[in-house]
Structure formats: C-alpha cells, structure tokens
Symmetry: C2
Subunit: 265 residues, 2 copies
C-alpha cells in the first residue's frame, strides 16, 4: 500500500493533535496545492483523532494558496456522539493557516447494515466503457502536476484541449482513476471531486480560485473507475458554484460536492 | 427595525469575541431551534468580528439540538484578506457547543459593481403570483413555532397537510416571506433555506436530523416574496441530501444550499 503515491502524500507524522505532513508539489494545481488534495489531507488528519472510520461530510475554507514544503495539520475533536463525531483540521504552512476544514465522521458500513429506503432521481453519466473513451492526456500547458497522478477518459475532448472556443455548456462528464493503480476510497473522494478542470472554462473564464468546498461522502466506493459529472449552473458578479457527482463502478453515488469559485482578473 | 421578530432574535450582547444571545423558543422546529435559524445567528456573530458586510458562504455542523434559553456565540477571526474574510462562530447552550459554523464574508455590492460575465442554466420556479397561490397555514401538528414567523404560498398542498400518501416526488416549490413584514436580507437566507418542511417527507420519511448545512449567498435579495425550490435527489443507507434554491422577487438567485440529513428511527 505504501507504494501508492496518494498514500505517501497522505502520510502524517506525530501523535497528534498536531501532525506533520509534506506537500511535495506533486499534487499542485495552477495556484499551489490542489484544493481537493488539501481537503483530503485535512480529512485524513481529522479522522486520526475521531473514533469512527468513515468521513461523511467535510467542508473546507481556502484561506491562502498551499505551496510545496513541510506542513502542519492541527486537529481538534469538536464532539464525539453515538453515531457521528465532529472534528476540525487546519492545514498550515510556515505557521500560516492555508485551509480550515470541519468534518463529520461515522461508520458507513454500519449505516449500510441498518439499511432503509432508497431513492434516486439522478443517475450516473451515460458513458461508454472507459476503454471506448478518449484519453485526456494533460490538464493544462504547462501541465498541472496533480493531473499526472490521475487518468481521465472522456467522450469528447474539451475546448481548452482542442483550442476551440468554449462551448457555453459548463458540464463535464468522464471517467477517472489513480494512474498508479490505487483503488478509490472515501479519503480520496475530496481529491477526485476537485480533480477535473473547472466546467466554467466552457464559459470562457480563465483564472479562478475556490473560496469554499463541501464534500458529502455517500458510500464507500467499489474498486475500479469513477464516473464524474461536474456542472456550473449559475455565474454572477464573479462568483459561480461548481457541483460534482462521483459514481463508482457499481453505479452508486459515492460523493456529491459543491464549491464556490471566484473569477480572478 | 427593532420591531421585527427576526431582528430581535438576532440581537447579540457584549463586545465580542463571545456574544450573548437568547434562543426564545419562537424559532423552534421539531427538535429544538430550527437549524437554519441557528446558522443565521452564527453568521450574524461572525459578521460582527469580520471587516466585510456580506456573508458569502457559511457551513454549519449540528452537534446537539438547540433548546430555548440563554446562549453564547463564540467567534474567531480566522483570516482577513483583501476581498474576503473568514471567521468561525460556535453557538453554545449551557457551555455545550450546539453548532460549529465557519463563514466567509465579502462585499457583494463591490462584486456587483465589478460585474463580469453571467450565466444561468437554472431558473426560478414557474409559479403564479403569491396572491393566486394557496396559503400554507401550519407546518405540522403540533405547530412548529418558527413556521408561525414565516408565511408560505404554494400551488398544491403537500401530502403531510392533506394527509394523502407521500407523492414519491421529493421537490417542494413555493413562495415565502416573514409574517411581520420584515424584508429578506442576506442574513435571513440561512434561515429561509431551512424553513420549508423536508422534501424527503414525500418519500415517506418521518423523523430526520441535519448533520451539516452549507449556504451560498449569491446576491442581496430585493424586497418582496422569495421563491423557493427544495429537492432531495438521493437517499441511501439513511442519509439524504436536500438542496435549496432561493430566488428573489427580481428573479435573481440569492441563495443555494445543501444539507445532509439522517433518517431517525
């Protein structure tokens, strides 16, 4: 397991409540560490101090860009209840807080064993199998390092790859997985929800930053490819939301997320 | 202004960073204080210590039910940037934390003045004017106190009012406003996004609780009625999300929210 890049990047040192970590630059987006990657790291640290195995909800506020180098992740147990526990985790670089995250943890296997009614008015993206899709080779020029850690398959290359004008239709669908064969788990989902280029590129937007990202973890993902659907539905006064759905290879919704983005000038 | 009930309920005492407040039982849901009401209170307190006028995003984790009585709201300035400031606010009763909220504030009037491109693939609910709709008189039996503070207009009475079987279609649309004539503002939107009976009632669910609620404030609302659309799209293993959109009388999206609910047995 230690051979997988994501697990290496999630490694924490120390006994807590403050942990050491290293942001090694291999998970960077345009403006420092990828936001979803930082949120996975904060989620992992919160889990270290909480008595349940599975992240259920995590919300992160992005305070500063996260540059490569040694980091500290400060955690706090907010409350441990009977079925849910709540914690806080702050990712800091050079003593400055980069991300403030709050997380709820539970036992999703126990929740699945209890069962109950189910309902879905949404469905996985209607995609051909990954082998029949196109390979999306790189997420930008110059390349974004975290996109080298993840493989993508799409039915249509987006405008920023083919250098055609933006479509005006800010929805992206496709498949993704870790490039080194690591299977997805709950901890990796905050990364995956933020691992696709912003759908708002299809509106002609260029530079943007994330103010906040909330991820809802709905089920432990089955092994295999993850199907994603990312969409922006409303842009006004420089702010837009991006919603993500991640579906596992068994066709279950495993994560929903929403982030608020700000267009930079 | 002091005559309006919501403003009275949002009154904070003290100079901070800890403020006094009173949860007076007039904004209660089934299980203590309404979650959106508590989130408005936390948002208000965070705004007291941050240098910008407008809440932009607020995420709250529900740790315990909020019973009526004196409360303390503890705040922390996390970071003040050039255009965005971040704060934390905890609502406590009897020294126990009930709600942990994190908020980003900005100046939405300045954002609107800067302008930029706009896009919408969602639209306000297609409703007749409020005067042509039906009055929704009470939200439960026994009545939920906060529902007496808010007026509702709908095109169709929901199943839990008419005592007909649940429709299986968990979407609610309608109009709402403060019963005492107070106009909506940004601070009231965390309350309004949580002020409608859960759409999951249409799936036959009965008792449920909120784990987390994130609200995105998109524009200062115009005076008049607010149009709402609440929907649950996925329920599994006892967990469901509820998304809300709130549109103002000028047809602008003023709030989006998502909460994670847990079905109680």
């Amino acid at each position: 397991m230690g051979a997988f890049e994501f697990d290496a990047a999630m490694t924490l040192s120390g006994d807590g409540p403050a942990f050491g970590a290293v942001l090694d630059g291999r998970w960077d987006g345009h403006e420092g560490a990828n936001g979803g990657f930082l949120l996975s790291l904060a989620t992992r640290a919160a889990g270290e101090v909480l008595p349940f195995p599975d992240p259920l909800v995590v919300s992160g506020f992005y305070l500063r860009p996260g540059s490569p180098g040694p980091a500290e992740v400060r955690t706090e147990v907010i409350r441990s209840g009977r079925t849910t526990a709540f914690g806080q985790a702050s990712v800091c670089r050079d003593g400055k807080e980069v991300l403030r995250a709050t997380a709820a943890y539970t036992d999703l296997a126990a929740a699945a064993a209890r069962g109950g009614p189910s309902f879905a008015s949404i469905a996985p993206p209607d995609l051909p199998p990954p082998a029949q899709c196109q390979v999306l080779h790189r997420l930008a020029n110059p390349p974004i390092t975290f996109s080298e850690r993840i493989e993508y398959r799409v039915t249509e290359l987006p405008g920023w790859v083919t250098r055609t004008p933006p479509s005006g239709h800010p929805v992206y669908e496709g498949w993704m997985r870790f490039a080194d064969g690591r299977e997805p788990d709950l901890l990796s989902l905050p990364l995956f929800v933020d691992a696709v280029a912003p759908a708002a590129l299809e509106l002609g937007l260029r530079r943007m930053t994330t103010v906040e990202l909330t991820v809802y973890l709905r089920a432990r993902p089955a092994p295999g490819w993850l199907a994603y659907r990312m969409a922006t539905r409303y842009l006004a006064d420089g702010y837009f939301e991006e919603d993500a759905e991640i579906w596992d290879s068994a066709g279950r919704l495993v994560a929903q997320s929403r982030q608020l983005g700000l267009v930079l000038r």
